[in-house]
């Protein structure tokens, strides 16, 4: 690559990154000032000294760590379940023909398009019958049926899992589940990594359904807890922003931790699509 080409590329990428990250800078500015500073005319653009005060307020007003733990539980268990159920189903759809498989897959596709907000009330009725209202199970189990995951993984599995290996396994007398465990899973690992992060993030950020079903305000997830910082008549935005910032941090840590591994793998998933 030529020298000018390199300079141009670096400049463009750095500029793009700065623009992308600017909202986070603004977030920290807001979290470190008072609400009055945010609304001042003109508003402050630099960091203030209220950062720790605001964060202390966040911890004082809501059960941050309790709700963080709840969110972690929900996100992790949901992700594991989704990865298991979806990879199993996707592998089956991808590599095996059985009666009704097309119809069933068609149903999977159709479920994409139903707006999720619609199901809040009937879902609550179901949860009431099952006795899961207020329980984290109500968040985990419905989310384990993830249509997007099956769609994504089927795309990937179709090309990634070599038919010859499957044939060889069948010859060797491997049953279906053994084939899945020994052959499909290792090959599907990159797609699993992507789906894992996707599911984890969605579970982490989910707001409406947890709000409706976790009726005990002392036992909620992080996003719902954060929304409790908003009052009915007044919103103390600097504290809300501080709460937002603190809520992002665990996610960023998890992400940075797995980023390299994840990003390397995410590629393959879409590529085989």
């Amino acid at each position: 690559m030529t020298r000018t080409g390199r300079i141009v590329t670096y400049t463009a990428l750095i500029l793009g990154a700065l623009i992308t990250l600017f909202p986070y800078y603004w977030l920290v500015v807001m979290a470190s000032n008072t609400t009055a500073d945010i609304y001042a005319s003109p508003p402050t653009w630099t960091f203030g000294g209220q950062f720790f005060h605001n964060i202390a307020q966040v911890f004082a007003r809501i059960d941050f760590f309790g709700s963080l733990l709840n969110t972690l539980i929900v996100a992790i268990v949901t992700t594991l379940l989704v990865l298991f159920f979806d990879s199993l189903a996707a592998f089956t759809f991808a590599k095996y023909r059985f009666p009704g498989s097309n119809v069933l897959f068609g149903i999977v596709l159709a479920t994409f398009v139903v707006p999720t907000q619609l199901s809040a009330i009937p879902q609550f009725t179901i949860m009431a019958h099952l006795g899961w209202v207020g329980d984290l199970k109500a968040l985990i189990i419905p989310a384990a049926a993830n249509a997007f995951g099956i769609f994504w993984m089927r795309q990937y599995a179709q090309t990634a899992v070599p038919d010859e290996l499957l044939e060889a396994a069948r010859m060797d007398g491997c049953g279906f589940f053994r084939t899945y465990l020994t052959i499909a899973l290792p090959v599907l690992r990159p797609a699993l990594a992507f789906l894992g992060i996707f599911t984890f993030v969605n579970a982490w950020n989910d707001y409406l359904w947890p709000l409706v079903v976790l009726v005990d305000s002392n036992h909620v997830t992080l996003q719902v807890a954060l929304s409790q910082l908003n009052g009915i008549y007044v919103k103390d935005y600097s504290v809300v922003m501080a709460g937002t910032l603190v809520a992002i941090v665990p996610l960023i840590i998890v992400f940075l931790f797995g980023a390299r591994h994840f990003i390397r793998n995410i590629a393959a998933g879409a590529l085989k699509g």
């Binding site: 990154a17 619609l118 990003i263």
Partner: protein, 312 residues
Amino acid sequence: MATLTRVPDPVRSRAPRQRKRWKYLPHYLAVSPFFVLFAVFGLYPVLYSLFLAMQRWDGVGPMKFVGLSNFQFLVADPTFWDAMGNTLIIWVLSTIPMTALALLIAVGLHSSIRFKGVFRVAYFLPNVTSVVAMSLVFGSIFSSEFGILNWFFGLVGIDPVSWLTDPWAIRVAISIMIVWRWVGYNAIIFLAGLQALPTDVYEAARVDGAGPVRTFLRITLPLLRPVLLFSVVMSAISGLQIFTESQVLLGNRGGPDEAGLTMVLYFYDQSFVHSDFGYGAAIAWGIFVVVVLFAILNWRLIQRPGFLKAGR
């Protein structure tokens, strides 16, 4: 599997059929967890919403059966058509720049530069942040008087834009939020595509003396078609369901002239703010129809022969 020449042995003739049924048992078992969960938590709400769409219900009192009248209202409802238009406009305004930028970023990251990891994290970060959380930040950025965007415009001599009150500016503002959120995600997908391209084609092109731009247009893009189209189709399905960005920036009505009112926001407004659950359910089904049609349109485009083949 029993052939005609074999004498039908009672035990034998039963076995092949059993074996056939048994043969598929693991497959059904494998897909059943999803379908069981879906039947309970996915199908029932969907059927319930269909039932609900034929009722008049405010969430509190008794339900009243009204047949198809909600759907009749929907078809004649100018607000719904506006919402559909808005959704499509926002989709176009966001998907095209997003795809182009994602492509450019991917090309940049694919080249021989350092700190790739840092860039990738930076660009992907918006995708893992919740939109609700960033709403005030964007409200501040888009502020007519004090927002940084208008400050920047002032620097270069452009008039300030009323991002949150002018109808077209509203749509652009929402699109900017969407682009911000999804560029990194798609860039990484494209990057993957680029990394998997065969290098010998590039060797040949270089030997032939093709410059970087020509190489990009004539070779890279066509080879990336499948990945590109996958990205477009996925964003078609999710993009038509934009809701949070509009709601947090402009409230439940979508702002002046309802410029930011998307279909799902209209559904939310009718169901949960105005407690007209029957009509809300009808709107949800209207959305379903629109998205399915749009998705089929895109799918047809992909299936067209020649699209999946690499370029000339």
